[in-house]
Amino acid sequence: MTTTDATSTAPVLSVRDLVVEARRPDGAPLRILDGVGFDVAAGQTLGVVGESGSGKTMTATAVLGLLPPGVSVTSGGIRFADRELVGLRESQRREFRGKGIAMVFQDPLAALNPVQPVGRQIGEIARRRDGMSRAAAGRLAVDLLERVGVPDPAGRARAYPHQLSGGLRQRAVIAMALAGQPRLILADEPTTALDVSVQGRILALLTKIQAEDGVSVLLISHDLRVMSHTAQHVAVMYAGKVVERGPTRELLHAPRHPYTAALVRSVPAVHSRSAPVAPIPGNPPRLAALPSGCRFHPRCPLAVERCRVEEPVAREVEPGRVAACHRAEEVLP
């Protein structure tokens, strides 16, 4: 089953039935991700959207092999460029991080070394990649800063992170990601900490890089607005599961899971006089106390007895569209 019917090539990243568990103090396992699956097609962006606690960041962390101590993949697989990542040793992992898979996080200050000029940090990645000389790495850093739209790139290469605005810092981080010539950029809330007027430009930059370099992007965000402008495909996560996935446009026009539909309705409109947002009642469940049956049923307007007792299995509801809902065919946009 694939969500990328448009491309016949193998996906760059394929996550299959991924289960991630944490050990609780009493020894019992706590399931954080429960059967997560999706593909990131070559040269495309897959958006993973969900609220806090849905498992979207844990999914990214698992892909990077950076799960916190006490948390581990207990079953399922993560294939990247025809290599299975689950079960690799840390030393084998390291060759993927930064090179095959590059990262762009929410807070660029946390990703940058505060006591080193940004140009040095960008060049360092390239030096580690193919051992180029310091001078060549310095020139490459300036080129990359120019490519990501930093004005006065030669001057800015000598700047320290604190001397740059939030938008420029995030551009420097993206330049750093590019220095590794990755096949996949993993971007976790890359615009959430930025001002409104800068957000769009950073997303445009990621889109441009993707188009020019054919790099794939796994974009993680709580914001459906970001997805609608950036991702070709979206996976919606709720309480540790992917509840719906499919092409962005169809998914937003005609959601097949009540949670997706509710998320769409809770986004306030900027450019039109819209009806008041329609809140989803209740709160997302705690993983330690999941409801029976479908995890969304206590908040779902369509819930019936079956939803309370039987957990829905993800199924293809129409070509390229997967939803985990007993009543997927009855969801109204």
């Binding site: 962006t45 740059l164 914001d223 446009r249």
Partner: protein, 290 residues
């Protein structure tokens, strides 16, 4: 029209920057000559990016910062240099992060009732528990949670408790500083609906501060746009959103992301340069880069 409930006239709030080159301390004008009014029962949205001075303006209004010049008038009384205890009650604030604005060691009951210690006439001594229960019900929190502490509640529930605490003093003006920004989308929609309902029920006036243009449009009768310490445009919400006049408002609206199912990625024109100056960027640009 009668005199507005809140009136801000030519207010300047400045800070001294850390000692820079040559030992001179630069003055930062966080709020640079702002005029703003909020009428009884009116909701005014204040939008702007980080560093625009919107939070400093809010803090100056409620007296958490001192204005260097200008006047703040509330219900006909000059409160620029301080609020009387009686008037203080009439303005309450809701902050962005409910976890840091609620005392983690206090129970929900004590958090909501705390203000009554300073205003003992408000609720009769034996009626505290009943009034707390009433307030919690009003904001959609199960009164059975009154004995819990903030850590045992979700982010949305904490923000509801923060709103109940503000309402406990029966204010006439609620100042909300990014009150829904830290919440998940579905919970954010709940709090927006709650604020809209309370405003109707209680006839509250609101100064609603947010960087999110969509959120502001949901609630506001009028909107003021702040940029680098000044209000560059103000007007009725519908008018400002449909025909913005100031170039900055136009830029801000043009760059606001909308949920658009028909956007075909990539939906942005290639615009490679950061052109909007921020304050930190101004300083970087001012420094010689060679």
């Amino acid at each position: 029209m009668t005199e507005p409930l809140l009136s801000v006239r030519e207010v300047w709030t400045t800070f001294k920057a850390p000692r820079g080159k040559g030992g001179r301390r630069q003055e930062i004008q966080a709020v640079a000559g702002v005029d703003l009014t909020v009428a009884e029962g009116e909701t005014v949205g204040l939008v702007g990016e980080s560093g625009s001075g919107k939070s400093t303006l809010a803090r100056t209004i409620v007296g958490l910062e001192r204005a260097r010049s200008g006047t703040v008038t509330f219900a006909g009384t000059d409160v620029t240099t301080g609020w009387s205890r009686r008037l203080r009650r009439d303005v309450q604030m809701v902050f962005q992060d409910p976890r840091s604005s609620l005392n983690p060691r206090m129970t929900v009951r004590d958090i909501v009732a705390e203000g009554w210690r300073a205003h003992p006439g408000l609720v009769r001594p034996g009626g505290h528990d009943a009034e707390v229960a009433h307030l919690l019900e009003q904001v959609g929190v199960d009164p059975a949670l009154a004995g819990r502490r903030p850590a045992e509640l979700s982010g949305g529930q904490c923000q509801r408790v923060a709103i109940a605490r503000a309402l406990a003093l029966r204010p006439r003006l609620l100042v909300c500083d990014e009150a829904v920004s830290a919440l998940d989308v579905s919970v954010q929609a709940q709090i927006l609906a709650l604020l809209a309902r309370l405003r109707e029920e209680l006839g509250l006036a609101m100064l609603f501060i947010s960087h999110d243009l969509g959120v502001v449009r949901q609630l506001s009768d009028r909107v003021a746009v702040m940029y680098l310490g000044k209000i560059v445009e103000t007007g009725p919400a519908e008018q400002l959103y449909s025909s913005p006049e100031h170039p900055y408002t136009q830029t801000l609206l043009a760059s606001a992301l909308e949920l658009d199912p028909d956007a075909t990625p990539p939906a942005f024109a290639a615009e490679p340069l950061e052109t909007t100056p921020s304050r930190s960027e101004d300083r970087t640009d001012a420094a010689p880069s060679a």
